[in-house]
């Protein structure tokens, strides 16, 4: 079902932030949010990105839509770089890549009615002609995301969280983008509402053949929606695999630990816990070796000195960045 043509290509992307020293005299230090990330996203697929807070998953999403300017590397959309284009071309590209944010409360303008918010992208990008067409289009979008058209003239504060997230989705798909970056779209919602929004997103994806980049920290949600999953740790992708394989055949020690830390699905389930000692190390400053080296239960001497790269391991494009699997490839 998946079309194999690559729609978005991320090449050696890195993003550094400057952080101030603890007191005024101290030098500024560098926070490496993303380190040398390469990723191909195929047309019509859902790529899930998962990781703990601070691992750079949101930064990656924001780089793709152009909210952050990467420090190195390149992002190609349909073969064209989106970083080194004129502002006019950049504007055209925006039409194809849209974003749904995490917090449904702060991502809508409180002074715009629901209909205004949904109509705005279409006005900005001039995709509709005339008032009548715009109104019809807004009506259609409301219908598609399952909102009552009687609520069109309400303001954001009059909606519940789930309804507001539906509005955000309507706004993102209003100009028929090809890629939608969903940054934790359901994390702020209750379980029963979460399922409604997930179903909506999945339905729209099938209908319009959209490509999603689905960022979340909830593994079961990501697994449910995604065709492929990338697991991130400290600014690097440590494993990339098919949605099914992550549960059946996790390879990287971090992925295994992450899976074992998830609360059980029934009271009888007795999970074998793989504990990672300590806390996530700081992304500030330069680091030697594998990002997980300090916490990994299977750490080798080599891990402390060299950074493993993301290499093919097994079938179906299962890739892992870990020296434990290096022998298999050589």
């Amino acid at each position: 079902m998946i079309d194999n043509s690559i729609i978005l290509q991320i090449k050696n992307l890195s993003k550094d932030f400057e952080v101030k020293g603890k007191d005024l005299r101290r030098k500024k230090s560098v926070l490496h949010a993303l380190k040398d990330i390469s990723l191909d996203i195929r047309e019509g697929e859902v790529l899930g990105i998962i990781g703990e807070s601070g691992c750079g998953k949101s930064t990656l999403g924001r780089c793709i839509v152009g909210l952050h300017k990467p420090t190195g590397g390149d992002i190609l959309f349909e073969g064209k770089s989106i970083l080194s284009v004129s502002s006019k071309e950049r504007f055209e590209l925006c039409k194809n890549i849209q974003m749904v944010f995490q917090d449904p409360y702060s991502s809508l303008d409180p002074r715009h009615t629901a209909a205004d918010s949904v109509a705005e992208p279409m006005i900005v990008h001039k995709t509709v002609k005339g008032r009548q067409e715009l109104e019809n289009k807004v009506l259609e979008l409301f219908h598609q995301v399952g909102l009552d058209i009687q609520h069109m003239n309400r303001y954001p504060h009059e909606f519940s969280g789930g309804q507001r997230q539906r509005l955000n989705v309507a706004r993102a798909i209003s100009i028929q983008p090809k890629v939608v970056v969903c940054d934790e779209p359901v994390s702020a919602l209750d379980v029963s509402i979460q399922a409604q929004v997930i179903n909506l997103l999945k339905g729209l994806q099938k209908k319009y053949h959209l490509t999603y980049i689905f960022i979340s920290h909830d593994l079961s949600v990501v697994k449910y929606v995604s065709d492929r999953i990338a697991i991130m740790y400290l600014g690097q992708i440590v494993e990339l695999c098919n949605g099914r394989d992550i549960y059946k055949n996790p390879l990287h020690p971090y992925t295994k630990a992450l899976l074992s830390a998830i609360p059980p699905e029934s009271p009888d389930e007795n999970k074998e816990r793989i504990t990672l000692e300590g806390e996530i190390s700081s992304p500030i400053g330069d680091r030697e070796g594998c990002p997980l080296a300090g916490r990994c239960p299977q750490c080798l001497e080599r891990c402390k000195k060299e950074v493993p790269s993301l290499l093919q391991c097994g079938e179906d494009g299962h890739k892992v960045a870990c020296f434990l699997y290096d022998k298999g490839i050589v």
Binding site: E52, Q196, G203, H217, P264, P267, T275
Partner: protein
């Protein structure tokens, strides 16, 4: 072992707002035994946090009021305590762990200061003894360089570390019960697992009862002995943990269980959802609160408030349809 520690009977906590009376908790009864872990699950606004703050009388003064009911903790009537008695009740008998670890510590004092202050208000100890006690407490919760941590400010610690400090503080005076209000919601999965393991370990060592409030059913499966499901201020189901998983009876519980995506499942089917949204708490109390979202609802559900009935030994359910002859079967009606 099965001696009751906390008995809550028909607790009603209402909030008086300009828009009307909001029935946040509307007749909740339960019992926690010594050394037991009980969970309360529900969506936001279902009254689970208000229930817990009612138990230690931490409601915002003015707006919230306990209208009726009784709370009995180990022989003391909590609702009859005066201000001074309350101070020693909180912390000594029951301590509380809040959702956000970063805001439950004061940002302007060092961890050591905050911990020794707590020790010295509770018992006679000079500064150095108190400091040593604090250090020991931190070591018990698995903080390695305790001495250095005592000398840091809360902002210098990570979320998981802060929550450990708070757990250390809550067990300082060896309380009989800990109320943990969404203790891991603000934390990452791996840190969440660490904190939950720690809580369970503390419960094992000190035989403390824990009232765990969460919206994550996975956390309940991992931790709890018994569990209460709340919806719109009312208990809808109350039973043992494994019973709730294997034999849930209330339609809301079914909806909740079915709407969670499962990690191990292979199915590509749509997630089943509960249609609609929870009711306005100012307008509840005339019918079954779930009737507007329930696929099984009929006339009686829309006109009479269901009572919590013991359908099987130790299994309480508030549902009209389930009490009928034959009862309901899970998945009997397609949710259209």
């Amino acid at each position: 072992m099965s001696e009751a520690l906390l008995t809550v009977k028909d607790l009603k906590t209402y909030f008086y707002t300009s828009g009307g009376v909001s029935k946040a908790v509307d007749g909740v009864s339960f019992q926690i035994n010594r050394g037991e872990i009980m969970g309360i699950v529900g969506e936001s606004g279902s009254g689970k946090s208000v229930t817990s703050s009612s138990i230690i009388r931490l409601l915002p003064s003015g707006a919230g009021k306990i209208v009726s009911g009784s709370i009995d903790f180990d022989g003391t009537d909590v609702l009859a305590l005066n201000k001074k008695e309350l101070l020693s009740f909180r912390g000594k008998e029951v301590s509380m762990i809040f959702q956000n670890p970063m805001t439950s510590l004061s940002p302007v004092f060092k961890v050591g200061h905050q911990m020794t202050e707590l020790i010295r208000t509770r018992q006679k100890a000079d500064r150095q003894t108190a400091y040593r006690m604090a250090e020991e407490a931190l070591m018990k919760v698995g903080i390695t360089d305790a001495r250095r941590r005592l000398d840091s400010y809360p902002y210098e610690l990570s979320g998981g570390m802060c929550q450990r400090v708070i757990i250390a503080m809550s067990i300082l005076s060896s309380p009989k019960m800990i109320i943990a209000d969404e203790p891991t919601t603000a934390l990452d999965v791996t840190i969440q697992a660490q904190v939950l393991d720690l809580l369970k370990e503390m419960q094992n060592i000190y035989q403390t009862a824990i009232l765990l409030i969460t919206h994550n059913l996975g956390v309940v499966w991992k931790m709890c002995d018994s569990v209460m499901v709340m919806y719109a201020g009312k208990t809808v189901e109350y039973t043992s943990c494994s019973n709730l998983y294997h034999n849930p009876l209330h339609p809301y519980t079914w909806g909740l269980l079915d709407s969670m995506p499962r990690l191990g499942s292979e199915s590509e089917e749509e997630l089943s959802t509960i249609q609609g949204t929870p009711p306005d708490l100012r307008l509840t109390g005339t019918c079954c609160n779930f009737s507007n979202r329930c696929p099984y609802a009929n006339e009686i559900c829309k006109s009479v408030v269901p009572e919590l009935k013991e359908l099987e030994p130790g299994h309480f359910v508030a549902c009209h349809r389930q009490c009928e002859a034959g009862g309901l079967k899970r998945g009997g009606v397609d949710q259209a």
